[in-house]
């Protein structure tokens, strides 16, 4: 492994640590200041039962929106720097870039695709909630659609990204 690749991997690890730290911060303050419960099977059961705990589901969608947004921003900061290598040395860029094709990075990219998809679809849902003045029932239904679309499109995306690993 070259020095440039090592620096990239250290920077990527730092970004992942910062994202995990931010996630802990959001979930902890959800518990202390917003009255959110512990993440548990009980919480999940409460949110998927019918009729749903709509306020709670929507609140967790807000936390997830914040966490996925931060995740994408964290990666973007690193991505701007690694693509910038192209302008300074094409060989160093290519050297660092080969890491993107490794299985570990491909798994990371899958996580990123799920994060981008959820953040995008949920963001569009929020726009529709405001513009069409959706009720809490309708906006919770829309959140269900967002979850299904994120899972379906994310799985399809992962198929494309992981296919070369298995071929």
């Amino acid at each position: 492994m070259t020095l440039a690749q090592s620096i990239f991997l250290v920077a990527l690890s730092a970004v992942v640590v910062v994202i995990l730290g931010f996630t802990v911060l959001v979930v902890n303050s959800a518990r202390s200041s917003d009255g959110g419960g512990y993440i548990s099977t009980l919480l999940v059961r409460r949110m998927i039962r019918s009729p749903r705990e709509r306020a709670e589901v929507n609140r967790w969608a807000f936390y997830l929106h914040r966490i996925t947004g931060f995740m994408v921003f964290g990666f973007l900061a690193l991505h701007i720097v690694d693509v910038s290598l192209f302008s300074f040395s094409k060989s160093v860029y290519d050297n660092v870039h080969t890491l993107y094709g490794t299985p570990v990075l491909r798994v990371f990219e899958c996580g990123l695709v799920f994060a981008v998809l959820f953040h995008t679809l949920n963001g569009l849902r929020l726009l529709v909630v405001d513009l069409a003045d959706l009720s809490i029932t309708a906006s919770t239904k829309a959140l269900g659609i967002v979850a299904v679309l994120t899972a379906a499109l994310g799985t399809a995306g992962c198929g494309f990204i992981l296919a070369p690993v298995f071929s």
Binding site: L25, V26, S29, R66, G69, F70, V72, F73, L76, A77, I80, V81, V83, S84, F86, S87, K90, S91, Y93, D94, H97, T98, Y100, G101, R106, E109, V113, V116, T120, G123, L124, L127, D130, G157, F160, I161, P164
Partner: protein, 131 residues
């Protein structure tokens, strides 16, 4: 001591200005969001589906930045994403950072970071285009 019931004109003006800037941020957050929904999805499709990520080497970038469409696409994406991210983290700081001094410092750090990333990214694209 000022009272909120009967604010002095200067305060009223400041309040109106704050309300308007919040509205501007709200609208820009949605506009950049819709723009990014298209730009980032397109970016992911091109770099992971149409071309496998292993194929996005220096030759791929050189070819892409030879086209005005992609230079515009990437520049717009850079500006919209950083503006959107800055406003998003700004709102998160309001929730999690306690104390006026620390909040002010973290806002300065955030704006400095996103601005530096924008200038650097724009410089990189410009350097690649004009070389």
């Amino acid at each position: 001591m000022s009272t909120t019931l009967n604010p002095r004109p200067a305060e009223a003006v400041a309040q109106t200005r704050r309300r308007h800037s919040r509205r501007t941020v709200y609208v820009m957050m949605r506009l950049t969001g819709v723009l990014l929904a298209v730009l980032v999805t397109g970016h992911l499709l091109v770099t992971h589906v149409v071309t496998d990520v292993a194929g996005t080497d220096a030759g791929f970038i050189a070819k892409r930045w030879g086209s005005a469409l992609w230079v515009t696409w990437d520049s717009l994406m850079l500006a919209a994403a950083l503006g959107h991210a800055c406003a998003g983290v700004w709102a998160a700081l309001d929730d999690y950072v306690r104390g006026a001094k620390l909040r002010r410092r973290s806002r300065v750090a955030l704006v400095a970071l996103t601005f530096a990333l924008f200038v650097f990214g724009a410089y990189v694209i410009a350097r690649a285009v004009y070389s």
